[in-house]
Symmetry: C2
Subunit: 432 residues, 2 copies
């Protein structure tokens, strides 16, 4: 039997425990696939004596990170502890000592992925991070495989399970946001502080990672435009439904020629779009390639077992490379210089809901603002409001540049007859 490959684990929370369990329970398959056994040799924890739902010999545990990353017998570091600055230091240290790294840390990879990958390559090490994007979906590997023979022009993703759960329940039961959020928190689908999820930041991190890989460009987190779901009301969902759309928090990465746009925002998708039927806490990434056309990858976006499975898949890839002696060659440096579209180059349809004074000529004043900018309407609904003397107008525009649309919004807000711009969302494709 060949010498086992030794793994050091940073973190033993739910994902870390899952990794330990999978390595134990699938030892036979691992040996069959890779040709040698794998053992967990050291595990960094905060508290040596905490009760855990996985049985681990206490002699494997340590509270000192150096015991793990400086152990000369450890070949691979699996990082499932989270955190950014400190964690980055540890992983850089590990890579510089020739240890391969598998991480599930999207915050870290979104912020410092380029730097870490460069250091890994310099040191002949693998750095894999499939679990950082959508736990149960092998999307990064599929992108890499597809890249050589196709040109990816668009990626659209539901990459945050918490917000998809909330929007699904809001749509299905007509419940208000706060109520569904509380339910999601009770079920463990949302954190006590849900900000990173509901404000779209978590999704933005994942889209930065996807766009960087899919477009082979150094996209930073700051390049992603972000809008969360906290402002979405039952009225918005009701109108979407009537117009044949489903509201989802969608990450979009779009390339036109050499320029790209990346954003995360609530978006109205036609009910027939493959992403529209992705419900509850599920994730999906839709990829459009020039040659292959539409493809979609669907699966659980998080959860300790799916994430742990993705981590172990990466570990297997590292181990196969070790057996073949070819580590550190899979990270491909970005091929293209980063070029972002300006707001005048980003085009989309928009959904807009405004409250106006119900006066003669009000409608004409509003439409004039759109037509001055050459933006036409696909759909218009006007309904009286309970509040006497006011009306609600819902508009779906044809394609407009973001620049024009923002100017229009500003002008509408300045208009005396406009009481309030209640909501505004991006629209993708055609409703009914």
């Amino acid at each position: 039997m060949t010498k086992p490959i030794a793994v050091g684990l940073l973190g033993l929370g739910t994902v870390g425990s899952g990794v330990v369990k999978i390595i134990e329970n699938h030892q036979d398959q691992l040996v069959h696939q890779v040709g040698c056994p794998v053992v967990v040799k050291k595990i960094l924890v905060r508290d040596l004596y905490k009760e855990r739902d996985v049985k681990v010999d206490v002699s494997l545990l340590t509270t000192s990170v150096d015991d793990v990353i400086n152990d000369p017998e450890i070949d691979v570091i699996i990082e499932v502890m989270g955190g950014v600055e400190e964690t980055k230091k540890h992983l850089l240290q590990a890579l510089k000592q020739g240890k391969h790294v598998v991480t599930a840390n999207k915050d870290l990879m979104a912020l410092y992925g380029s730097e870490l990958l460069a250091v890994a390559t310099e040191n002949g090490c693998d750095l894999f991070y499939e679990a950082s994007v959508a736990g149960g979906i092998p999307i990064l590997r599929s992108l890499v495989d597809g890249l050589a023979s196709d040109r990816i022009t668009k990626m659209m993703g539901i990459v945050n399970g918490t917000t998809n759960f909330i929007l699904t329940k809001m749509c299905k039961y007509g419940s208000p946001y706060e109520e569904v959020l509380a339910e999601a928190q009770a079920l463990g689908y949302a954190e006590a502080d849900p900000t990173a999820d509901v404000e779209g930041l978590d999704a933005a991190r994942k889209m930065a990672i996807l766009a960087r890989l899919g477009f082979s460009m150094n996209i930073d987190l700051d390049d992603v435009q972000v809008k969360g779901i906290t402002g979405i009301t039952e009225e918005d969902l009701d109108y979407s439904k009537r117009l044949g759309y489903t509201m989802k928090l969608i990450g979009i990465a779009h390339r036109d020629g050499e320029k790209v746009e990346v954003s995360v925002q609530p978006t109205l998708l036609p009910d027939s779009h493959p992403l529209a039927s992705v419900s509850d806490e599920y994730n999906a990434v839709y990829v459009y390639g020039e040659a292959v056309g539409e493809t979609m990858f669907y699966g659980p976006g998080a959860g300790s077992l799916p994430t742990a499975t993705a981590v172990v898949s990466d570990l297997v890839a590292v181990m196969k490379n070790m057996r073949l002696g070819v580590n550190g060659r899979s990270a491909v440096a970005p091929q293209y210089e980063k070029k972002l579209k300006s707001p005048s180059e980003i085009f989309s349809k928009y959904f807009l809901r405004i409250h106006v004074k119900d006066e003669v000529g009000a409608f004409a004043k509003i439409t004039a603002i759109f037509s001055e900018r050459g933006v036409s309407f696909e759909k218009i609904l006007q309904l009286p409001l309970k509040e006497k003397g006011f009306a609600e107008i819902v508009i779906v525009t044809h394609k407009a540049s973001q620049q024009d649309y923002e100017d229009i919004l500003q002008q509408l807000r300045d208009l005396e007859i406009v009481h309030d711009v209640k909501s505004s969302y991006r629209v993708e494709g055609n409703g009914k």
Copy 2:
């Protein structure tokens, strides 16, 4: 610049032309990914002077297969000519000369995949066949990646675009089978002789390939139970819809413990199932892994460009392996002995539509046959028929073994009051 990798192409139909175009148009990306250029050196065709929609130097063309597979400078053979027995001989000859093979040939891989893969491994050659299953979906690679860290218990696939197109149109417009088939033929989605598609054979070939890989077992094409879509009527679709189901031609590969079942048959899926919304000529494969849970891969199942893209992805994998000197190590021999479930071990719910004489006690006689076998009903509809004195009964059973269900069908047919068993389908999950 490193020496280019030379490719020999067997066949220059639509897929072959697509491969030539992609290699030409993506030369930069290929060099970036692999580190060396790739050239098409020889192409086997039937007619040297035929007009083609891709420009190829006539000096590259040959009508002799030996010119391609015996060319000592050719490293990789891409087989996109189709055919089984002759093609198998050519590929065996190529592998024995140390040439790597990429094929899109599902007929060949379903029948002789195990043998070809064994010969490839013996000769240190890669044999990749991603394009053989569902052109635009990287399902085989995802299965291989997932295998080491998870145990796949179920695969369900819409793996034939022609039948999915036909069923989608029949459902949507209530059109009869023959009419939609004619439309599909006119659009080029169905062959002049549609037998292999509509009888489920094409899907069975793909399921054999998927099951062999996913369960690591030597599943043969003969092990797949097959039923096609030719008997599906508008009435069946109408009842499915009313009961909250969508009819799809579904390939199922299911493992319980050590035993497996593989089948292709029209199946009623709940409208909320991810596969139910896969429309038109699209394909999707749903995979259930013990750890990762539900995942689904969606994309174009056929078409010259998606298939050519999958072929070139495989070519890239071969080239990367060549550059690393590690070819012939990716095919993993089956890990488990083949064990098929017997009909008494295969469980499913069933939809059944029968015409009976409308007599006192008829219903009691029918239900008695089910209850003798311990099979209970989930749903029953009874409706009068236009033909006086007859009624239509639609039943959805709870789970029953295939053995029991077939016995029940036989007894029903023998019953004097049963005029006809009109249709019978497998049901997966719960309708509304």
